[in-house]
Amino acid sequence: MEQLLDRIIAGFEAADIEKRKDGQVFFTVPKPKVLPLINHLKMFEGFRNLILMTAVDWIEDNQFQITYLLNNPDTKTDLGIRTFIGRDGEGMDSIHELWGHAATFQREMKEMFGIGFPGSPRVDEPFLLEGWDDIPPMRREFDTKKYSEETYFPRPGRETHDPATYMKQKLYPND
């Protein structure tokens, strides 16, 4: 594991290494190195299982984190590969040819985050939503509560009171 990590650091500029438990490491690589790294891991290091692939929205830094979680079923190790891309329509290279189910992940990320994966099969078809015309819902600037209240007729007539304010009003009405 340590040697493998050293190789990755040396060959693929891995940084920001987070090791929380045995057999699982997360690290960041620059975007151009991601596909070579994944290819290398799949071909030569036995990481032939893609567990998941997802995005995290870091709106503060104006970038998306894309995580690929690869697994080596023989050595029972997981590698979490992080990479950062811009939030403004910057796409990512597709890995649908390496794994059969990667296209589904990419299709979902396209729909939920608006990250493009050119070349991925059926990537532009809606996956979970139907007739969605707002911004992709998993982007953090999308306010689901506001959307829900505006769209779905919440029940009227509910009001609540903050105990501190209410008590001050009741006990010291003139304050």
Binding site: R155, A164, M167, K170
Partner: protein, 605 residues
């Protein structure tokens, strides 16, 4: 495929003659398991409406609504949770987090209706059939708490370290301790209304949690300009109503306040509080007395742009805070830290000037636009039993003042202290230290009318007194001081049965058959203090309205019937620092209303 594969499936018919396992009347026959999470019920007598259930509910299913018949009072918001069954998911987190343990779930689970509007009810108030159900989900047992019920222990000096010195006893929290203690708060806000100054307690506790001391200090100064002092000696009414205190120990709100103040160095105050430059509006206010009320008023008036002048009788500021409270509880440098900041806002202070003697009130009226009198209670009250006119019978306040001023006082070999309040404990512990310094041993008996659990003093004070060698014997009423050959021999006491009659008036009942004798050569009385209003001239007194109980009548803004004259502090509200601060703040706003003409009340004289 064998013949077995064709024949063996017919074994499926084997249950055809068995009795079916069907429940005959499932709607009525099958009660839920004893632990089943069904519909809500609430013991509204125990519930305090703290709203923690509302906070934890991820579905916003719980509203707090006022309920008829439940009055808002200290420690009870008068609100009760109302559950929207169009939102609830029966996770019972509200039960597990409930501070009082009043909210539970019954194991009833059938509620069917044609109208969606009915699925909204206040458990315990709306009569639901499951309210009286015994079974259901209750908070699990066995170390299952969502927040710690145990206080973070505060480090004190050990009795042997402190009993002969006036060094500060309480060490204060370290950062980790403060974070852990602040973490216990559930941010319900029940304490806010109970605090006379309505401090933003949940907010500053959150500042501690966020480790943002500057924000914390700002929140403190919104309502309380004496945080170092209050952080040490406040009577913390907030802690008595703290919702965590219903099942555990209340949050140490006072120590957290002290922690915030301690973390901020005094030289950064101006920068943090953004009070470097204050605009003046040219109006002047005179303040009599530099106690908490006076200082608080001076602080807020200065922030509003008034020019304040404080007239102080004694050579130092602080009033009772400095002269009534011993140094081991409230070190003088901490008093100075708070007061120096207030004075740095441009407040003038004139020491050694007694209004009424050195300067008259009428003169103040001429020189200033308004006068705020917060002269406090400095005159000790006497029990007026036989023998109190003896020279070795002292008033606790006098002795404490002299100790602070550094004057020599008489310390007897055996001392009896009468009184059960904090002042009595203060004098007991002060005298104990002096005795130990002078004689090497402590022989003090402190007696009070009230029984141990009814004593007004903080229990930690009582415990501290005992640790330091004093004997505290509550529940006895003084009858007579035994004097022989011009020397005090001791105090006769009888057992006190009750303090108040049915109407609530003070009327002690005693059992005269059960009496004791406390030996002593010095008696200290500490049963309360009175006010000294000699500075009020006759002309003013004529116009001044008094309450039937002999106090000055003031309105909500502490304005007396003479519009330019405001009263506040202990003379209005009784002895309490935090009340004094609150009065000062309110009076400052009242003075501002009065002077800026926004008051509803028109100036008549």
């Amino acid at each position: 495929m064998s013949i077995k594969d064709i024949l063996s499936p017919f074994s499926g018919w084997k249950k055809v003659f068995d009795e079916p396992v069907v429940v005959k009347d499932p709607v009525n026959d099958r009660p839920g398991a004893p632990r089943y999470r069904g519909f809500h019920r609430n013991d509204i007598a125990t519930c305090i409406g703290c709203g923690t259930c509302e906070t934890i509910c991820e579905n916003e299913a719980i509203d707090l609504v006022p309920v008829q018949g439940i009055e808002t009072r200290d420690g009870d918001s008068g609100l009760r949770p109302r559950v929207d069954y169009g939102r609830c998911c029966w996770c019972a987190l509200c039960v597990d987090v409930c501070t009082t343990g009043s909210l539970t779930l019954s194991n009833a689970y059938i509620w069917v209706d044609e109208d969606p509007g009915v699925y909204r009810f206040t458990p315990g108030v709306d009569d639901m059939p499951w309210q009286r159900e015994e079974k259901g989900w209750k908070k699990p047992e066995g170390n299952y708490e969502f927040y710690s019920l145990k206080r973070e222990p505060m480090e004190h000096l050990r009795p042997e370290e402190r009993n002969d010195s006036f060094a500060e006893m309480v060490r204060g929290f370290s950062k980790e301790q403060a974070m852990r203690e602040a973490d216990r708060c559930v941010e319900c806000g029940i304490c806010v209304a109970t605090c006379p100054a309505h401090m933003g307690i949940p907010e500053y506790i959150r500042a501690v949690r966020d480790d943002d001391m500057e924000r914390g200090l700002k929140i403190l100064y919104d309502t309380n300009p004496l945080p170092e002092i209050c952080g040490r000696i406040c009577t913390h009414k907030c802690e008595t109503v703290c919702s965590i205190g219903h099942r555990g120990e209340p949050v140490s709100i006072r120590w957290l306040k002290r922690y915030i103040a301690d973390q901020n160095p005094s030289e950064k105050y101006k920068q943090i509080l953004e009070t470097g430059v204050l605009d003046k509006n040219g109006k002047k206010v005179a303040i009599i007395g530099s106690g908490p009320a006076g200082l608080s008023a001076a602080h807020y008036l200065s922030l509003m742009g008034y020019e304040c002048t404080i007239y102080e009788k004694l050579p130092k500021t602080g009033g009772m805070m400095r002269f009534g409270i011993p140094e081991y509880r409230l070190p003088y440098d901490q008093i100075d830290k708070d007061i120096d900041y207030i004075l740095s806002l441009g407040v003038h202070i004139i020491y050694n000037t007694t209004v009424g003697k050195d300067i008259t009130l009428d003169q103040l009226k001429r020189d200033y636009d308004a006068v705020f009198a917060a002269t406090g209670l400095h005159q000790g009250r006497s029990t007026r039993i036989e023998g109190t006119d003896h020279r070795h019978v002292y008033q606790a306040t006098d002795l404490l003042r002299k100790v602070t001023l550094g004057e020599e006082i008489h310390v007897g070999r055996r001392i009896v202290v009468i009184g059960g309040g904090n002042v009595a404990m203060d004098i007991t512990r002060t005298l104990a230290r002096l005795q130990r310094l002078k004689y090497g041993e402590v022989r003090i008996i402190t007696t009070s009318l009230e029984t141990e659990d009814a004593m007004p003093a903080d229990s930690e004070e009582v415990v501290g007194s005992r640790e330091e060698g004093a004997t505290v014997i509550p529940g006895w009423a003084p009858r007579k001081i035994d004097i022989a050959e011009d020397e005090i021999k001791g105090l006769h006491v009888v057992q006190c049965l009750s303090l108040f009659d049915e109407k609530g008036a003070f009327n002690p009942q005693c059992n005269f058959d059960n009496h004791r004798f406390f030996e002593g050569d010095m008696i200290v009385e500490s049963i309360g203090q009175g006010m000294d209003l000699v500075y009020l001239t006759e002309g003013i007194k004529e116009h001044l309205e008094m309450t039937p109980r002999g106090r000055i009548r003031v309105d909500d803004y502490f304005q007396s019937s003479i519009p330019w004259l405001f009263f506040g502090g202990d003379i209005i509200q009784g002895p309490d620092v935090i009340h004094g601060i609150a009065n000062g703040h309110k009076a400052a706003r009242g003075i501002d209303r009065f002077l800026s003409g926004t008051a509803d009340k028109q100036q008549t004289t």
